[in-house]
Amino acid sequence: MREKEYAGDYTPMEMMVVQASRLIRNGDVVFVGTGLPMIASMLAINLHAPRAILCCEAGFWDSRFIHLPMTVGDSRWYIGSTWLVGQSAMFSLLQRRRIDVGFLGGSQVDKYGNLNSTGIGTRVEGGYYVFQKRFEGSGGAADIASMANRTIIMMKHERRRFVERVDYLTSPGWYVWLHDFDEGRGRTRLVPRWELGMWGGPEAVVSTMGVMGFDEKTKEMYVKSYYADLGITLEEIRRNTGFEIKTEGAEPAEPPTQEELRLLREKIDPEGIFLQY
């Protein structure tokens, strides 16, 4: 095997995609939306995980699209798909623990990997919940977060996004605040997901600055690697994280190889639809 040749000129977005793609294992069933997760998955399939299967919430299974879909329901997914399935059936694969990896994003993440993609400034007002700023909403995120065998979070690394506690808990991470339904007292106690009978949990956060993992014991987020090659420092990550984050043992991230970049730019997203060259 010839030695890997690393690329010298790449964007933070390309770096994110490459880092995420390396987390996909051969044979994984990967539940994706469109965007960077889809591109990361395609990269994995083209390199080290040819047996990985891509599926999306609109009901396409194991697509071999030749042009990049722009939405989950895009006709481009049709090419090479071996199954077209109702969404209720697709999501039931999650509930049957048949989905190995799910990708998630959001506007806020906390140290336990809880995500908010619903809204910030959440409050109850006159009997209704309202938001200071409303986003698109969960979609399938809460389902994926609660029932995929592992999840990978991709998001922009900013202090206002990496927060101590999410304003609205759309997608559960490792520890969640328990709802006490019987007494109607709302969230009272922080409990680990497994106490609620949940499997899975977030494996990594791939941000614009580095890759974070979750401590095996405390389940708190820590920095695994940082994009040194792009000028990112651990100090910068700490400064852009709204909670205390461990950085001991963090290593510079392995940059994209020339092969990875070539595939991204020439084969997977030659139009630059998501990578916006």
């Binding site: 469109t34 919430e57 609109a58 009901g59 396409f60 042009h67 722009m70 939405t71 989950v72 329901g73 895009d74 006709s75 481009r76 049709y78 090419i79 798909s81 077209l84 399935v85 109702g86 969404q87 209720s88 999501f91 039931s92 999650l94 509930q95 619903t118 809204g119 109850v124 007002e125 006159g126 009997g127 209704y128 919940y129 309202v130 700023k133 409303r134 986003f135 698109e136 969960s138 979609g139 399938g140 809460a142 389902d143 977060a145 609660s146 808990l169 759309t170 997608s171 969640v176 328990l178 709802h179 339904f181 109607g184 709302g186 997901r193 009978g197 949940m198 639809i273 998501f274 916006q276």
Partner: protein
Amino acid sequence: MSKVMELREALRRFLKDGSVLCLGGISICRRPMAATYEIIRMGFRDLHLIDIAPGMPQILLALAGSASITEACWHGYELFGHPYMWRNLVERGPGETGYRFDDLSHYELSLRFVAGWLGVPFIPTYTARGSDLYNPEYDNLRDLRGVRRKVPRKKFAVMEDPFYGRGSVRLLPAANPDVTIIHAQMAAPDGTTRIYGAHFDDFVHAAAADHVIVTCEQVVSRESIAKDPEMNLIPSVYVDAVCEVPYGAHPGPCLGHYDYDPWFLCDLVERTREGEKDPGRFREWLEEWVLGVRDHEEYLEKLGVRRLLAIRADPTLGYAPNLPRRLDRLPPPP
């Protein structure tokens, strides 16, 4: 007995102010857009929308004032932009606007329709545990429960599994829309409906509804649709009306017929973005493309043949491979 009728006639017969309405397709794809425009044109009010992954039509119905309740998991245009104006509507809150939005997850909604399809009052699930979707303080339909028709008494219930000791499980109430509208590639006069490509959850949405309106690119004979019955998704029994509406999903794609209309989509999203500051910008759009247009044929005339040719699908691929797709540097519309 033929169920073929004009779209307006179908809506007049089956939809009412206050109806619970479900629209097929997903996000901006194979959505019954012609039907959505017609609903706005006909002035329906107080609609209660319930959909899995709503996009364009639900946003338009909210912004045009046709809908007063939405139960959904998401609202947006994906790559084409954020749900401008709609997010403002939600941020202002039901107290001010009279428009209620209640969040569920995608699978919760799917399962509610599955229960509706099967004809059972509820269905259990393990999904979304620990999520604020189950926060009892966050229930924007609370004061309608047990009051408004088809709003279940509770958002969910909790019980122990009596059979396998797998612990506690949530029960979700069935969803049975008054009307579901689907856009398909073809349907027969008896209502048999065929969809090429992913059918999203259109079968379940139709099967759960009390009435179903199918708009389709083309009406075909019973004899031809009975060939390869494996390909047919929705049987005659569920369908009340079949309306031939070519380009009925424009500006979204319809596999085998046409692709996105990126010019139209970008313009619509841009108008709503501007509309957040100046609502008049969106009212102009609505006037130009919906209210000021007599019907879908006039809408198509207005789009013009060159536009329709620019988005037509390659018959071997099902979409338009040469469609301009860099939204940040879209050439002028044809």
